[in-house]
Amino acid sequence: MLNGERITRGRRNWIRPAVYASLLIILFLLPLFVDSVYYLHTFIISLIYTIAACSLRTVMISGQISIAHAGFMGFGAYVSSILAKELNWTPWLTILLGGISATIVGVLAGYPLTRVRAIYFSMVSLFVGLAIVALIGVFANYTGGDIGLIGIPPLPDIKIPGLPDINFLRSRIPYYYFFLVLTVLSLLILYSLENSRIGMSWKAIAQSYLVASSVGINESGFRVLALAVGCFFAGIAGAGYAHYNMVLTRSSFGFLSSVNLLIYVLVGGTGSFAGPIIGTTVLVIVPEIFRWMKTFAPFVFGGIMLFVVFFMPQGIAGLFEQLKTKVVQFQQRKTLRDVT
């Protein structure tokens, strides 16, 4: 009901859902056309990072640019792996617990973090991320420390009476569908939150925390909430990755990974929900295409980044918005002329 889009632009509401729906159909039919294990793997990785990047954007729309997000992913991944490996709990449950544990850490870190804003928040969050990675090293008995954690159980078979069992080891296709469903569910929840009163409050705080608190928005409460929601999905994504990859190394959740996630969001554009989805897809898949020129792949990555920074300051998704703003501004100037 309350939704920035709907208040401002009442018409043409069907275009966006139509685009999303057709995209979804293509994604669901994809395994019919792609049978290369390698390409499926690339798609799966890009789905996992889509969840993580979208959850990072949820944190960012409340004005908090976190450089700890991969750390929270890692926390969820390790919690889920250890519970499944040591206690033999089913991964279906431990993935959820991975998300919940990342949320708890996010909330615990989030309260002290509400005392700092903007760039200072980013700086402190960087250390939260590093602390999580260090923590993984401290409990080397369980986590494997620098050697890495091996022997993480994969997702167990799904047995449906009357149908052949779905085995997650024999092919990548079940994993693909698992992550596709997980991504769709996660994004639906994040989208619904963003376009509710809660999302409006997050955006209000980001624009002016003074004004927001003067109209009764609990600044620290909403900021912690954004972090909690973001960390939950980061934890889920990390845990899912753990049971897919079956090997974890703590270096994959460090500073560089957090910055990478941030780049996915920024290249895609923070202004719209589709931003991180586009950004992740482009930045995960395009470097894979250029993999044959191995040593130059990072340059392609960097090239895309620079191009976006210079020519699309609002990200790839913002390009459309940029054009639309031009039109809207023109109309508004006309309105103001008529009124004044």
Binding site: M1, L2, G4, I7, T8, I189, S192, L193, S196, R197, I198, M200, S201, K203, A204, Q207, S208, L210, V211, S213, S214, V215, G216, I217, N218, E219, L225, V328, Q329, Q332, R333, T335, L336, D338, V339, T340
Partner: protein, 253 residues
């Protein structure tokens, strides 16, 4: 008494921006607070609305001690405010600015909002109606779809008042509501303030433009964080201390 301060004091380092301020506001009044630049008027506002913590003294609102409470809790108790500069949500439209400001009545929970429950939709519909009413009251219907950042200054000031109304305040603090406006805009803004008072809202305002004092039932003059004088505009104008505060000694009119 709707609002009372008892020995309200605020130090910034060694400087007493407000010192031992005693003032009270009755329900339904419009009270003007004036004083030279740096007298501590905005500090008083920030103390009342919780943006600053008092160093000493108490603030009573409706008989309850609110000193040192967080801003959003004070907003919840019914004290709205505007800022000296036209602070608003620049990336929201005028209408969204007002709608976003409805956070207290009614309040929605997390799960309600996530699943867009019928109760949530009902509350949002109610809020949209209320927001439209405020738009009408302030007279911003014509620009309701314009982004905050693209509004002319006068409109921005009106919008900040409209936004403050969204929390259904009992007491509204206006920090320089007509600063930087044209004569025409001033007359309009004053009529809006009059209308807001008509809705039973008590108003405390700070202003350098004396034109607005025509609206005020009472004027409080502050200098160096002290209350120098209090009374009707006529009384205050004759007051020796007030004249000294503004023009220095030896300028007896």
């Amino acid at each position: 008494m709707l609002l009372e301060t008892e020995g309200l004091t605020k130090y910034f380092g060694g400087l007493a921006a407000v010192f031992g301020l005693e003032m009270s506001i009755r329900e339904g009044e419009i009270v003007g607070m004036i004083g030279p630049n740096g007298a501590g008027k905005t500090t008083v506002f920030n103390l009342i609305t919780g943006f600053l913590r008092p160093s000493a003294g108490r603030i009573l609102f409706d008989g309850k001690d609110i000193s040192g409470k967080k801003p959003h809790l004070i907003a919840k108790m019914g004290i709205g405010r505007t800022f000296q500069l036209a602070y608003l949500f620049p990336d929201f439209t005028v209408f969204e600015n007002i709608v976003t400001s409805f956070n207290l009545y009614p309040k929605s929970g997390f799960w309600e909002a996530l699943f867009k429950a019928p109760s949530y939709r009902r509350k949002e519909r109610y809020i949209l109606d209320q927001a439209r009413e405020i738009l009408r009251l302030v007279g911003l219907e014509g620009v309701k779809k314009v982004l905050g950042r693209n509004l002319p200054h006068g409109y921005q000031k009106l919008l900040t008042m409209a936004r403050a109304l969204a929390i259904k305040p009992k007491l509204l603090l206006l920090d320089e509501p007509i600063a930087g406006m044209s004569l025409e805009e001033i007359n309009y803004a004053m009529s809006v303030i009059e209308k807001i008072r008509g809705q039973g809202v008590t108003i405390l305002l700070v202003e350098h433009n004396m034109r607005i004092m025509a609206l005020c039932d009472r004027v409080i003059v502050i200098n160096f964080g002290h209350k120098v004088a209090e009374g009707s505009m006529e009384e205050v104008r004759q007051n020796q201390e007030v004249i000294e505060a503004y023009f220095g000694r030896g300028h007896a009119a």
